[in-house]
């Protein structure tokens, strides 16, 4: 229901605005929801807003993630197991 695009923060403009970039496409995004964001961070952008800082976005980290999934240790069970 909610298209989100990973983009990289390349420049902070004001406390609530930053320039984000993905493959050369630049957008000004509102950073009100991630005030701690720094240049170089990846963020998930939805309707012009950075919704969350993305961790592990580099390819090497993706590989590690998939390897862990295959090894059966990738996910964190948050819920109540029976």
């Amino acid at each position: 229901m909610c298209l989100g695009i990973p983009m990289k923060i390349i420049e902070r403009q004001t406390p609530s605005r930053a320039v984000a970039e993905s493959l050369g496409v630049k957008r000004i995004v509102c950073t009100d929801f991630v005030p701690e964001v720094k240049t170089g961070n990846f963020v998930l952008v939805h309707v012009g807003y950075a919704m969350q800082i993305i961790e592990q976005w580099e390819a090497s980290e993706r590989i590690k993630f998939l390897e862990e999934i295959l090894a059966g240790e990738g996910a964190i069970g948050d819920g109540v197991s029976k």
Partner: protein, 370 residues
């Protein structure tokens, strides 16, 4: 270097795909029937179909769409109100592209625009404020449609409007909450359901905790899942692992974006602007505590209140089964209008219009020529 790691990702994905299929076949053998998994989010419906995974697993796994398409669950009454507002002389309507072609009882926004209504598409709700400043004599109305993911952006736009004293701006609020609808859906569930793919971007705001009830209250293995191809695969693989092992819990297969308690800052901004209220959904009627309304002094920004219109009661769309499809009780193929009388270019109901409506996804990505 880059291409080497790319290749490694591709190989790993192929391996996950193979193992997922093995898991699925094992489960099917044990159960003696196809696995049924619901993807709550419409973006997942489309992402799975577009990646080819829906058809790839079709023999062993049915992916059923749930209530997670914001355009589809918007009640006919709201669609009619928005179209009527857009047709007012003094109004300039700003909307996300998804809403343009949704058929109202008499007209869609696209048709209203063709008849002279001022309707502008936006990418970000903040653009509505620029329109309001550019046209101070117009009343700019933003269609505030979406779920928890979009609500913070609408809230923040409202705060900017207040800060900059933009008075010719209002919002038609139809923001909805996913968990109450999912509860309503699971309560009246009348079909086999083996697990849930939970909406990654809603969870980015709410946190995965907000969906714990799917495991402890409804006994369903559930996995918070992202939308890129590796994420889709990872989510599906984990869900099938859980189904096989009978593990009833909520797992997070999208930890790069989703934290346990979500985004507190976004939640605070939403709470500042909105109160939770009962809301009318297509397919469900009224679901308690399932939507947002502007609260306190913010309510002067509600378009319904600034422009009170008397509209005829919105009737059901004849023959349309969008309501059942949204609840997961019907598949698009069971609707007699599908593909013959209802197509994306002549849609009867919203599920055929929205790019992430179940009927649209079936029509665009899955249906074969006959």
């Amino acid at each position: 270097m880059v291409s080497a790691s790319k290749k490694r990702v591709t190989n790993l994905m192929q391996e996950v795909l193979r193992q997922t299929m093995d898991l699925a076949c094992e489960i099917v053998e044990k159960k003696g029937r196809r696995i049924v998994v619901m993807e709550v989010c419409g973006t997942h419906t489309t992402a799975f179909a577009r990646s080819g995974l829906t058809r790839y697993f079709a023999r062993v796994l049915e992916l059923r769409s749930g209530s997670g398409c914001p355009v589809c669950v918007t009640h006919q009454q709201d669609i009619d109100y928005i179209v009527a507002l857009a047709s007012l002389e003094e109004v300039l309507m700003v909307t996300f592209g998804d809403m343009m072609r949704v058929p109202g009882s008499v007209s869609s926004l696209e048709q209203a625009k063709a008849r002279g209504a001022r309707v502008h598409l936006c990418y970000s709700p903040l653009e509505a404020l620029s329109w309001a400043q550019r046209y101070p004599r117009k009343q700019v109305i933003l269609t505030g449609i979406g779920f928890e993911t979009t609500a913070p952006a609408i809230a923040s736009t409202l705060l900017e409007a207040k800060k900059n004293h933009i008075d010719n701006f209002t919002i038609y609020t139809t923001l909805k909450l996913v968990p109450p609808a999912l509860r309503a859906l699971l309560q009246k569930q009348s079909f086999n359901l083996d697990g849930l793919i939970l909406p990654g971007h809603v969870c980015a705001v709410t946190g995965s905790k907000a969906f714990d009830f799917t495991a402890w209250q409804y006994g369903l293995p559930s996995v918070v899942t992202g939308f890129a191809e590796p994420d889709l695969l990872a989510g599906l693989f984990q869900l099938l692992t859980m189904i096989k092992q009978n593990e009833i819990s909520v797992r997070n297969a999208y930890p790069s974006v989703v934290r346990e308690y979500g985004n507190r800052k976004a939640q605070e901004i939403v709470e500042q602007c909105f109160a939770v209220t009962d809301f009318l959904w297509r397919g469900f009627s009224i679901i308690p505590k399932s939507g947002y309304r502007l609260k306190g002094e913010n309510s002067i920004f509600e378009a319904r209140d600034r422009f009170k219109l008397e509209l005829p009661q919105a009737g059901e769309l004849p023959g349309c089964r969008c309501g059942e499809i949204i609840c997961g009780t019907s598949s698009p193929l069971q609707c007699s209008l599908f593909k013959d009388l209802c197509t994306p270019s002549k849609p009867v109901g919203p599920c055929m219009v929205s790019a992430e409506g179940a009927c649209n996804a079936y029509f665009q990505h899955l249906a074969e020529a006959t």
